[in-house]
Structures are given as structure tokens and as C-alpha cells.
């Protein structure tokens, strides 16, 4: 059998198709992007090597739309950490406490995760409609006439927050489910032992359940932050980054720079900034959590 499992020809046939495709479509293009990001190039004419000049321009804040997009990326992160994550955690803790109907609620909360972001974005455009939208009607019923007529997505002051809400809404169920699985994996004996020692439900959660859930919490927070930085679908569909860059996101600026303004070098530098930001944040969070988690 050893001979069969060491068969070089078979190994090549098993590995090569997948590996070749992966190298050609994911790995090599990533390095090509690094090279492009060092060029001044419009895609057709000469490629001028300009070193780190693109990055210098991005970091020194000369590209307004990109600055705004990074700020918005962090703003979305902030919203997810402030609203989405605590909500998901509370729901997960309630549902994991042997409550009646936990399966039903879990299944319902998860439904939006299955929907396409484009559908969700277009649906919320109707919900936000200042004349006939659902939100308009609700605000009218509550007697908030002046609020009801705000064009949420057309106003630079409100566009980013309004476009963020569907994202929070869609993914809350996903994080709830991850955290729920984490909470469920805490051994019941530990909870019971805490009870016998006289700990109330709140103490049990803070002293026993949450510390044991730290690995899952780490995964959730990493995904929340990276997801916010990379966000594209909902905001592209709803506002395309407008009005006047108020809801701009890094991926949107990148696409615009490449495919509308034909600045291939600059666009690639933006792509690399997104990659770097994601890697840095992951590494940083690993460090923070590893220190807390002996």
C-alpha cells in the first residue's frame, strides 16, 4: 500500500490541476499587482517605474476619495463593533441557555445571510424611499413628519450610515450562529459547578462562558473588521460611494481608479493597501487576544 500512496504520477495528477489554477489565478496575480502598484501606467501606453510614489501619494493624503474611503471603512467597523457584535452576542447567549424555540429563532435570524447583497441593497433602497418607502410610512405614523422626508441615501450626512444598516442587518445572524456554537461548546458541568458555588447567571456568563468563548470571539471580530474594510456589494449597489464621496469604500475607489480613470498603477497600490490593512489587523488582533488568552 505504501507504494500506492507514494505513486509520484498519481500525486502529480491529483495536485497539479488545482495547484496550477490556484497559482495562475490567485498567487501570481497578487505578485503582479505588487509590481503594477510601482508603476505609472494607464493600461495602454508606456509603463513608467516610479517606485513607491503611488503609496506615498496615498499615505500623504493627496487622494481625497481614498482618504474618505479608509475613514468610512473604519466607520463601518465601528458600527459593527458597537451594534452588530453585541447584538449577535446577546442573542447567542440567550439562545444557548436551553430556551424553548432556540432552533426556530436561530433559523429565522440566519435567513438574511442567504440573500444576495445586491437584492438586500435594492430592497433597502425601496425601504428608504422618501415618498413611498416603508421607513417613510413608519416615521409618518410616529408623527415625525420632518424626518420622514429626508432622502437618506442622497444626503452626504446620512448616506454612509443608511447604507451601512443593511450590512449590519444581514450579518448579525451569521455572527450569532458562530457565537452560539461557541457558547454551546462550554461544558454544562462547568455552568452547573458555578451554580453550585453560588454564582448567578450574570456572573456565570462573565466568569465562565465568555472567557471560554474567547477563540470564537476572536474569529468574529477579525471577520467583522476585515469584512468592513473589504465591503463592496451593498454600498456599490446603493450609492456607488456617493453623494460626493460621502459613502466611499476602499474597494469602490479602487475599481473607479482602474476602470474609469485608467490609473492602473494607483489602483493597484490601493488594492495592496486593502490587502496590507487586512493582514495587519489580523496580526494585531492575534497578538492582543493571545496575550489575554494564556
Amino acid at each position: 500500500m505504501d507504494k500506492v500512496l507514494r505513486d509520484k504520477r498519481a500525486i502529480l495528477l491529483f495536485v497539479l490541476p488545482g495547484l496550477t489554477l490556484f497559482l495562475l489565478v490567485v498567487i501570481i496575480p497578487m505578485f503582479t499587482s505588487i509590481y503594477y502598484s510601482l508603476l505609472d501606467w494607464n493600461g495602454f501606453g508606456d509603463r513608467t517605474f516610479i517606485g513607491l510614489k503611488n503609496y506615498y501619494e496615498l499615505f500623504s493624503g493627496k487622494v481625497f476619495s481614498f482618504n474618505k474611503s479608509i475613514i468610512n471603512g473604519f466607520y463601518l467597523t465601528f458600527l459593527t463593533l458597537l451594534f452588530q457584535f453585541p447584538m449577535a452576542l446577546v442573542l447567542a447567549l440567550i439562545l444557548s441557555s436551553e430556551i424553548k424555540g432556540e432552533g426556530f429563532f436561530r433559523t429565522v435570524y440566519f435567513i438574511p445571510v442567504m440573500l444576495s447583497a445586491v437584492v438586500i441593497a435594492m430592497l433597502f433602497q425601496r425601504i428608504y424611499d422618501p415618498n413611498y418607502g416603508l421607513l417613510h410610512m413608519v416615521l409618518l405614523k410616529l408623527g415625525l413628519q420632518s424626518w420622514a422626508e429626508v432622502t437618506l441615501l442622497g444626503n452626504p450626512k446620512t448616506a454612509m450610515t443608511a447604507a451601512s444598516f443593511p450590512i449590519l442587518w444581514q450579518w448579525v445572524g451569521y455572527h450569532m450562529l458562530l457565537l452560539y456554537a461557541g457558547a454551546k461548546s462550554v461544558p454544562t458541568e462547568l455552568r452547573e459547578a458555578a451554580k453550585i458555588d453560588g454564582a448567578g447567571p450574570v456572573t456565570t456568563v462573565f466568569r465562565i462562558v465568555l472567557p471560554l468563548m474567547l477563540p470564537v470571539i476572536k474569529v468574529c471580530i477579525v471577520m467583522l473588521i476585515i469584512g468592513s474594510i473589504k465591503e463592496f456589494d451593498v454600498i456599490f449597489t446603493m450609492t456607488k460611494g456617493g453623494p460626493v464621496n460621502s459613502s466611499q469604500m476602499p474597494s469602490l475607489v479602487m475599481i473607479e481608479t482602474i476602470f474609469r480613470r485608467y490609473k492602473y498603477g494607483m489602483g493597484s497600490a490601493m488594492a495592496m493597501c486593502i490587502v496590507l490593512l487586512c493582514l495587519l489587523i489580523t496580526a494585531l488582533l492575534q497578538k492582543i487576544f493571545d496575550r489575554k488568552d494564556p
Binding site: I28, P29, L91, L177, V275
Partner: protein, 276 residues
């Protein structure tokens, strides 16, 4: 075990309110997909439709390109799922079960891929596709979908292969099977749950994907549902009913899949994240 009692009423009210918030937008969508503009503009925004206008669905099927988009999405999704399973299964098998020097290195390359966002390869990929004149084709989407799907697929497969006893291969050898026969007739049937998990996970990602679809496809003939919906929006900007119908048609396969296999879907969607 706690049973329902009066003390729990606030807790249940909270859970029910959240459930309504999560599900009501879909009900609202279903209702307005069956209404005429005059009904919506006449003030019936949230209520049941007075006349159930199924003709909105008919007009989306016969007067728009939705059937084409739906067909394209189906082709791209099915082929991507098959390839992700086939390629991921074989690479994963070689890495986990077979003995060769670089298996760890290859695994590391693929697992690093989990960290690489699609943005990083978008432009070079676009250049290559244009070079071979295959933007606006099914391949233009299938290639990146399969490649970016492989890392998770391999990760899940290797986890399942790990738990299979080596006696399975041994018995295959004694019967005189080749490694390919062992793989297809003995190993594959044993990892059906992995296949289901990967199929569902890949389905959700591919059916809803937008970034590649919107940059690589400009011709109507190859647009997938998400991109197609965005172009329908222009044409039906003031017609709420038909656009609602189109949105609902777009999510119907996902909803049906979820209602039939909700537990399995929940498991697959989280299985990729457990490792972190």
C-alpha cells in the same frame, strides 16, 4: 431545562421583535412584488396587496432579460461547484493521505490563500482575460470563483480525510484497485458530508458574487443575476411591482435551499470560519 413562563415574557418579546426585524423586509418585498404602482403610490405601502398581481412575475419572465441572467448564474454556479469539489477533493487527498515531500508546503500555499482578498488579483486577472479575449464569457467568472473557493474546500476535505482509517486504502489495495479507483469508489462516498458542506458554501458565494461579475462582464448575454438586477433597476426604476418580483426570483433558490436544509446550511456556512 427552562419552560416558558411569565418571567420569561420580556425575553421572548425581545427574541420575537428581533425575528420580525430579520424577516419583515422579505415579507414587505413579497407584498410589493404583487402590487401595482397605483396601489403603492396610493398609500398601501406595507399592507397586503388588494389585487394579487402575479402578472408582475410574468412580465419579468417575458419582458426582461431575467431568464438569461438566471440561466447564466445557474451555469456558472453549477460548474464552479463541481470544479471546486473535484479539484479541492483531489488536492486535499494528495495532501492528507499520500506521501510526498512537498505536501506541507502546498497545503500552506492554499491556506494562505484564505487570507488573500479578491481585490488583490482583480486587475492582473482582468488583463489576462482581456489578453485572451475571454472577458464576457462563463470562464471569466468560473476561473476566479473556483480558484478562490479552493482553499476552504481543501481545508474542509483534509479535515474529513483525516478521520478515515488507513484500512480503507489497504482493503482497496488488496482488491487490486488503483489509487484512482480507491479514491473514487472508496474515499469519495465516505466524505459525502464534506461534499455537501462545500457545495452549499460555494453555492452561496458564487450565486451572490458581485465584484468579479461586475468588472469582467459587460455583455447582457453573460450577466449573472446580481449584475443583471442592477441593469434591470434602470429600466424599472419607477415600477415597484416587477422589480420586486425580480428581486424575489433572485433569492428564491437560496430560500428554498435554506428551508429544505436549514441545519446543513447553517453548519456549512460556519464550518469555514471555525479555524480562523
Amino acid at each position: 431545562m427552562k419552560k416558558f413562563n411569565i418571567k420569561n415574557t420580556p425575553l421572548y418579546s425581545f427574541l420575537i421583535v428581533v425575528a420580525l426585524i430579520q424577516i419583515y423586509p422579505l415579507i414587505y418585498l413579497f407584498f410589493f412584488s404583487l402590487k401595482s404602482n397605483s396601489e403603492i403610490f396610493g398609500g398601501n405601502v406595507a399592507g397586503l396587496p388588494t389585487n394579487w398581481l402575479w402578472s408582475n412575475y410574468k412580465s419579468i419572465f417575458s419582458n426582461s432579460d431575467m431568464p438569461t441572467y438566471f440561466f447564466n448564474s445557474t451555469v456558472v454556479t453549477v460548474i464552479s461547484i463541481l470544479l471546486v469539489i473535484f479539484l479541492g477533493g483531489t488536492v486535499g487527498y494528495a495532501i492528507e493521505r499520500m506521501r510526498w515531500r512537498y505536501s506541507k508546503l502546498v497545503l500552506t500555499i492554499f491556506l494562505l490563500g484564505i487570507m488573500i482578498p479578491a481585490q488583490s488579483s482583480l486587475l492582473p486577472l482582468f488583463m489576462n482575460l482581456s489578453h485572451f479575449n475571454i472577458t464576457d464569457s462563463y470562464q471569466a467568472l468560473i476561473l476566479p470563483y473556483v480558484s478562490f473557493g479552493l482553499p476552504i474546500s481543501i481545508y474542509i476535505f483534509t479535515g474529513f480525510y483525516e478521520s478515515i482509517p488507513y484500512e480503507m486504502e489497504e482493503s482497496g489495495c488488496l482488491e487490486g484497485c488503483s489509487i484512482f479507483q480507491i479514491y473514487s469508489y472508496i474515499i469519495m462516498p465516505m466524505v459525502k458530508p464534506a461534499i455537501a458542506t462545500i457545495a452549499i458554501f460555494t453555492y452561496r458565494n458564487v450565486w451572490n458574487e458581485l465584484l468579479f461579475a461586475v468588472t469582467f462582464i459587460t455583455k447582457k448575454a453573460y450577466k449573472t443575476v446580481p449584475v443583471g438586477l442592477m441593469s434591470l433597476r434602470g429600466r424599472y426604476s419607477t415600477k415597484w411591482g416587477p422589480i420586486g418580483a425580480a428581486l424575489l426570483i433572485a433569492v428564491l433558490p437560496s430560500l428554498i435551499l435554506y428551508f429544505i436544509l436549514s441545519k446543513q446550511v447553517q453548519e456549512s456556512m460556519t464550518s469555514g470560519a471555525i479555524k480562523g
